[in-house]
């Protein structure tokens, strides 16, 4: 079951790389976070780790519902451009994405011996880290860049949950607060960008 959710995690991230509409991108991000939250719940149930279950629930509420909804609300209010075409051509991404995946899978090989849990999760979370970087790189608009940043945070969360058997809860809560602060900052940034675009 854990493999299934990890599969959904990677699949939604890859689909997000090919998306050209903002609302669809938010949907994929939401599904990505949802699979992550469910994964944390399942692993927490396995390890009987109360903290992991709590952070899974917070992930489901904040990342899978709160942040996408808030970003949608913002983009409606600021009437952002909803058509986001990637700078890298899709023909090139078709070659690039498998190359990144193969590269990171072999990159994670030496690290995986040091992890006590399942080594595959480390490889998949590192590869999703790189794919989120690609998502940030291939867009010029700010909204998809934010989604790329948030997916990178998701990938780190996956790494933390699966590789270490659950980070200390204090760290995770700290990350959540950072994320909320980041969203507030992003709000200001978006407003600023709108004003600059309006002036030009």
């Amino acid at each position: 079951m854990v493999e299934f959710f990890i599969g959904i995690f990677l699949a939604t991230l890859i689909t997000a790389l090919f998306t050209t509409r903002l609302y669809r991108l938010l949907l994929w991000y939401s599904l990505n976070s949802m699979s992550l939250g469910l994964l944390a719940l399942i692993l927490g149930g396995q390890f009987e780790d109360r903290a992991m279950i709590i952070s899974g629930i917070i992930t489901l509420i904040v990342k899978a519902m709160g942040i996408p909804y808030f970003l949608k609300y913002l983009s409606e209010r600021l009437s952002l451009n909803r058509q986001i075409s990637p700078n890298i051509k899709i023909q090139h991404s078709i070659i690039l994405i498998p190359a990144i995946l193969v590269f990171t899978f072999y990159l994670a090989e030496p690290i995986s011996h040091m992890v006590q849990g399942n080594s595959n999760y480390v490889a998949i979370s590192i590869s999703s880290l790189f794919l989120s970087l690609l998502l940030m790189m291939e867009h010029t608009n700010i909204a998809p860049k934010i989604i790329g940043f948030l997916s990178m945070e998701n990938a780190l969360f996956l790494l933390g949950t699966t590789a270490t058997g659950g980070m200390p809860m204090l760290v995770e809560l700290g990350i959540f607060f950072d994320l909320l602060m980041a969203i507030v900052v992003v709000n200001l940034l978006l407003k600023n960008e709108e004003e600059v675009e309006g002036d030009a």
Partner: protein
């Protein structure tokens, strides 16, 4: 042997119903008055009674091609994975034979389009060739990775092996292969993001353009070939990616198999309602996603074993 024959007969009989079912669900979701689920049978029986007219420009190919479009597909029905565990099946036929037979049918369909010497036929044939050439690599990669998980290259044997021993350690690559195969199912059957089977608009049609000059009995043959192609892909998806419930009472598991076919049809209908048709030059992007997922499935299986 009786279950083998029964499954084939059920699949032939259910083929027109599945396509009508997709149309019915779509009309229901668009708040139209839905058509009857037996509409496929009504269409075929109407077409058989009509006069068959053949263009003056057409050669003998138009007379033989409709049969050659239908017959390879009927042959494929005998090689599919069984619907229940006790049933007879052909274990040695591999995926290349099945794809080859389906491509043979597509080849004669393209010839049929070219033969009528209308400009629409050539247009449809070239588009069909374009799409089916792009489907090939993803198809081969997907089937390879499924065969790896099932430890056998034969399609029917792979279905049986998957049902016996579900690859729960390889769920991630299994999921990727499933996504890839579903995109291929949509592309090969000309459903909405790739081709719209309901319009006769020259910008969008692929399958309809090729059969624009065909009438009467021949059109009935081509239409039933299209529905049988859908049932082949749906049953492959059902037995390779939903391999459960084969050990029940044989009749019950055949019933479950039919339910799975309807479930695939429902998925296709939901996707059709929710997406717009892609421009023809965007179709390679969709099939590119299928290739990425198929490749991902293979490397996840090989490198990570997940």
């Amino acid at each position: 042997m009786i279950f083998y024959i029964t499954t084939i007969i059920i699949m032939v009989l259910i083929a027109p119903i599945l396509l009508s079912f997709i149309k019915m669900v779509k009309m229901y979701l668009l708040f139209k008055r839905p058509i009857s689920i037996l509409q496929g049978y009504k269409d075929v029986s109407k077409l058989i009674t009509k006069e068959t007219i053949i263009s003056k420009e057409a050669s003998d190919i138009t007379r033989i091609a409709p049969f050659l479009v239908l017959s390879p597909l009927l042959l494929v029905l005998f090689f599919l994975p069984p619907a229940t565990s006790g049933a007879f099946y052909v274990s040695f036929v591999d995926a290349f034979t099945i794809t080859g037979l389906i491509t043979l049918s597509t080849f004669f369909l393209m010839l049929l389009g070219l033969d009528s010497a209308s400009s629409f036929g050539g247009l449809g044939s070239s588009r069909e060739a374009f799409i089916s050439a792009l489907v090939e690599p993803a198809m081969i990669l997907t089937i390879f990775s499924v065969s790896m998980m099932a430890n056998n290259l034969g399609v029917a044997q792979a279905g049986v092996n998957l049902a016996k021993e579900f690859p729960s350690n390889h769920m991630a690559s299994f999921l990727f292969a499933g996504i890839s195969f579903f995109i291929l199912l949509i592309a090969e059957n000309g459903r909405i993001p790739v081709d719209n089977p309901e319009t006769h608009l020259e910008l969008t049609m692929v399958h309809e353009a090729m059969i624009l000059d065909i009438t009467g009995f021949y059109l009935a043959l081509i239409e039933s070939a299209a529905s049988i192609k859908f049932v082949i892909f749906a049953s492959l998806f059902a037995s390779l990616f939903m391999p459960f419930g084969l050990d029940l009472n044989p009749w019950l598991s055949i019933l479950l198999f039919v339910a799975k076919l309807f479930f695939v049809a429902l998925l296709v209908a939901l996707i059709e309602v929710n997406t717009a048709k892609l421009r023809l030059f965007k179709v390679p992007n969709l099939l590119g996603i299928a290739i990425v997922f198929a490749f991902l499935s293979l490397i996840t299986f090989y490198v990570l074993g997940a």
